[in-house]
């Protein structure tokens, strides 16, 4: 399958620039800040997958960000609870 770059794919690539500051926070800051950065980056990656699905013209690919949005919510809640009680 030959893929030509369109603005959706370029936007998905550019959105990687928003992941870099989160990586810095996750690497260098305390646990609370890391959790916040993790939640932020899960939103970014969800949107990135939407852009990729649109860029590849594959509506079936939308299932992936939909699942990620649901799982990121559950994961974030578990992490928050864990941070509050045990970490």
């Amino acid at each position: 399958m030959k893929i030509t770059m369109n603005y959706w794919l370029w936007a998905a690539l550019a959105l990687l620039g928003a992941v870099a500051p989160c990586l810095y926070v996750c690497a260098a800051k305390p646990a609370e800040d890391r959790l916040v950065a993790l939640e932020f980056v899960s939103c970014i990656v969800t949107l990135q997958l939407v852009l990729l699905a649109e860029g590849f013209h594959q509506p079936a690919f939308y299932d992936l960000p939909l699942t990620l949005a649901l799982l990121a919510f559950g994961g974030g809640m578990v992490f928050a609870r864990f941070l509050q009680r045990w970490l």
Partner: protein
């Protein structure tokens, strides 16, 4: 309805906003300040991108799934931010209610200007 130019403008505005928010997240000092930035991603950026999908893609499956994703992000981000802020607060000060030493104003009907909160009764 096929407007690729408008859709591309919306998508690039969303990407720019996301990068600015990510830089803001890295520059803030406390976790409470950082929490605010994901709201912009989950509301404005997601909305702009899904609006772009609606304008560009005639496929209803893509449109509806995109809309579901935007609604999920919008609703769940509020709940998640609240839960995270609560967890951070309890972790930092070992309680949820404000203490008398925190100088928090309690605003009531009788005192619209606020009176100092005395802590949990």
């Amino acid at each position: 309805m096929h407007h690729p130019l408008i859709a591309s403008v919306l998508v690039w505005i969303a990407v720019g906003l996301a990068i600015v928010c990510a830089i803001g997240l890295a520059m803030m000092k406390t976790a409470f300040e950082r929490l605010h930035f994901s709201a912009i991603i989950a509301s404005f950026c997601a909305g702009l991108i899904v609006l772009g999908v609606w304008l560009d893609d005639p496929n209803w499956q893509a449109r509806l799934k995109g809309l579901c994703i935007a609604i999920l992000l919008f609703v769940m981000n509020g709940v998640l931010s609240h839960a995270t802020a609560r967890a951070i607060r309890i972790r930092e000060v070992k309680r949820l209610d404000p203490g008398s030493d925190e100088k928090i104003l309690l605003i009531t009907k009788e005192h619209p200007a606020g009176i100092p909160h005395k802590g949990p009764s």
